[in-house]
């Protein structure tokens, strides 16, 4: 299969056509091969193919405001294979960019996707990162992302991890962030698990600067014999630092969910809260929708769709 055919198949699996607009930056990596790279002013990408994976250096220049979201497409079309990505992202002072990262493994039977990312945000910069996954219906994929995010003073970082299409397979997510003064961190994960999927999320945010803020939100729906284990930690070390850990998991059939929110405060003027709810859907929500004529299953599906919607965080992060 040629490069352009692979790119076409990757976008097709996401339900989209290939990106052709010259104003939109994009990069396509299939397996450990870079198939496409298009840049816009203010964005610098150096991608190097190595024997064991791809190393990418992404730089948003100081003061640059990338107008349209940068599209990153990672994936593997064959049933088996390994993809290893090492990524260094540097967002310059007062720069701003949004990235939509699509990870597609539509035919996976035995696929491993590993990502090691370091993201450094300069003072006053803004960086949002939406990572959405499309997996095969059989769940034959193991996804192992590791990220470290360093937020400079007044920087803003929003991450949104979405796994709603296909089976999650095995997800093992470890994110860590350190927040300088007046910076804002939001990390959100929305995941649906079924079959014998295994979902593990460990996130840790350290609010080390005064007036820094952080919210970790995890919304998961598991059914069949799927299993989810969420351990999210916020540590506040400075005056007026504010943090919140929010975890909702809806469990159906023989699935299992576990959540361990850890909040730690080492400064008397800091404040951190947490909220977790695991188990069945809320009975009042259920009966409200059933009073509109929806069956119990239809009402449950609607409540779960809300839980996994990007709208969910509106109340949490206000």
């Amino acid at each position: 299969m040629g490069d352009s055919e692979l790119v076409r198949k990757m976008y097709e699996s996401l339900g989209e056509g290939c990106i052709t607009s010259p104003g939109v930056a994009h990069i396509e990596i299939h397996g450990n091969t870079v198939l496409g790279l298009h840049l816009v002013p203010g964005l610098v990408v150096e991608a190097e193919e190595r024997e064991d994976g791809v190393r990418a250096m992404v730089r948003i220049e100081h003061g640059a405001r990338i107008e349209k979201p940068v599209n990153m497409c990672f994936g593997l079309i064959p049933e088996k294979g390994v993809q290893r990505i090492e990524m260094d992202v540097e967002v310059g002072e007062d720069a701003a960019a949004a990235v939509v990262s699509s990870c597609t493994f539509p035919n996976a039977v035995d696929v491993l996707h590993e990502m090691q990312a370091v993201v450094r945000l300069g003072p006053g910069s803004e960086y949002s990162y939406l990572e959405r996954h499309v997996h095969s219906p059989g769940g034959g994929v193991k996804v192992v992302p590791r990220s470290f995010v360093d937020l400079g003073e007044g920087a803003s970082f929003m991450a949104d991890f979405e796994m709603l299409r296909g089976r999650a397979g095995e997800l093992d997510i470890v994110y860590e962030a350190v927040c300088a003064a007046s910076s804002v961190l939001e990390m959100n994960a929305r995941i649906s698990g079924s079959g014998d999927d295994r979902i593990r999320i460990h996130e840790k945010a350290t609010l080390s600067g005064e007036h820094s803020r952080g919210v970790l939100t995890t919304n998961i729906a598991v059914r069949d014999s799927a299993w989810a284990d969420i351990r999210n930690t916020i540590r506040a070390e400075a005056a007026y630092a504010r943090g919140h850990v929010d975890c909702r998991e809806i469990v159906r059939d023989g699935a299992t969910a576990r959540a361990v929110p850890v909040i730690e405060v080492t400064h008397p003027l800091a404040h951190v809260t947490h909220e977790a709810a695991l188990g069945s859907v809320d009975s009042k929500q259920l009966e409200t929708l059933m009073a509109r004529g929806l069956t119990e299953d239809e009402a449950t599906d609607m409540i779960i769709a809300g839980l996994l919607s990007p709208r969910y965080k509106a109340e949490v992060t206000r």
Partner: protein, 244 residues
């Protein structure tokens, strides 16, 4: 001749070993606005919850018939599909669920235009609300009006509204009264559950509920006079004898 849409006969229900509804009987006439009025703890919300078949309110003696169908053993959604709808005293919050999806959940017409039309009927701007979630970023009054919009979209034959004035300001209450007029115009029967004289005035007929039983029924003026004179404060002068 007015037709009965809901017939309740000798309804008795206990919760936690306590009799909450006690040999209660009433008929609602189709197309009319009725009110059940009574002090706190009289059993008003329990009556609505029992007719809707909410969990915990399904085991009772006596009969509850809707359009001639005995409701005993029917689930909430089965009752809704027969034509019963309900607005809660404190509407549920749904984080993430969009206002448009919520409004259209019980509507046959699933178009965005339908959702917008129902929002406008409760005086909410569709452009400002359709993309929002039915969550805590909305005020209590906004959630009540959005719930009413969903009921307008559902267009049930019978709408029970539990304490429609609870937790809202005067302006929002006016919009809710406007929605009651719309429901009346649609031919729906409305049952207002209230202890408010202002809400009571919206009804054509009223029932006075005390200690789980209907003590009196009739025109709103008659019931208002009795309720204002003898039930506020409630001294249980009308407490019924045990047994039907």
């Amino acid at each position: 001749m007015d037709r009965s849409i809901l017939e309740i006969d000798d309804l008795t229900l206990e919760l936690g070993g306590r009799r909450i509804l006690d040999c209660l009987s009433l008929d609602l006439w189709e197309g009319h606005v009725h009110a059940v009025v009574g002090p706190n703890g009289a059993g008003k919300s329990t009556l609505a919850n029992t007719v809707m078949g909410l969990s915990g309110y399904r085991e009772y003696t006596g009969t509850v018939k809707f359009l001639g169908n005995d409701l005993y053993g029917l689930s909430v959604d089965q009752r809704a599909r027969l034509g019963i709808g309900m607005a809660w005293q404190e509407p549920a919050r749904f984080r993430g669920l969009g206002v448009e999806d919520f409004i259209l959940s019980g509507s046959e017409d699933k178009s965005a235009e339908k959702a917008a039309d129902c929002l406008m009927k409760v005086d909410l701007d569709p452009e400002k609300y359709l993309d929002r979630a039915v969550d805590g970023t909305l005020s209590g009054g906004e959630r009540k009006r959005i719930e009413l919009a969903s009921i307008l979209a559902q267009a049930p034959r019978l709408v029970m509204m539990d304490e429609p004035d609870s937790g809202i300001d005067v302006e929002a209450l006016k919009r809710i009264f406007d929605a009651i007029s719309v429901l009346r115009g649609m031919g729906s029967t409305v049952l207002l559950i209230t202890h408010s004289m202002t809400v009571l005035e919206q009804a054509d007929h009223a029932f006075l509920l005390c200690c789980g039983s209907i003590q009196d029924k009739g025109g709103v003026e008659k019931i208002t006079e009795f309720y204002a004179g003898r039930c506020i404060p409630c001294d249980h002068k009308n407490r019924p004898e045990e047994g039907c």
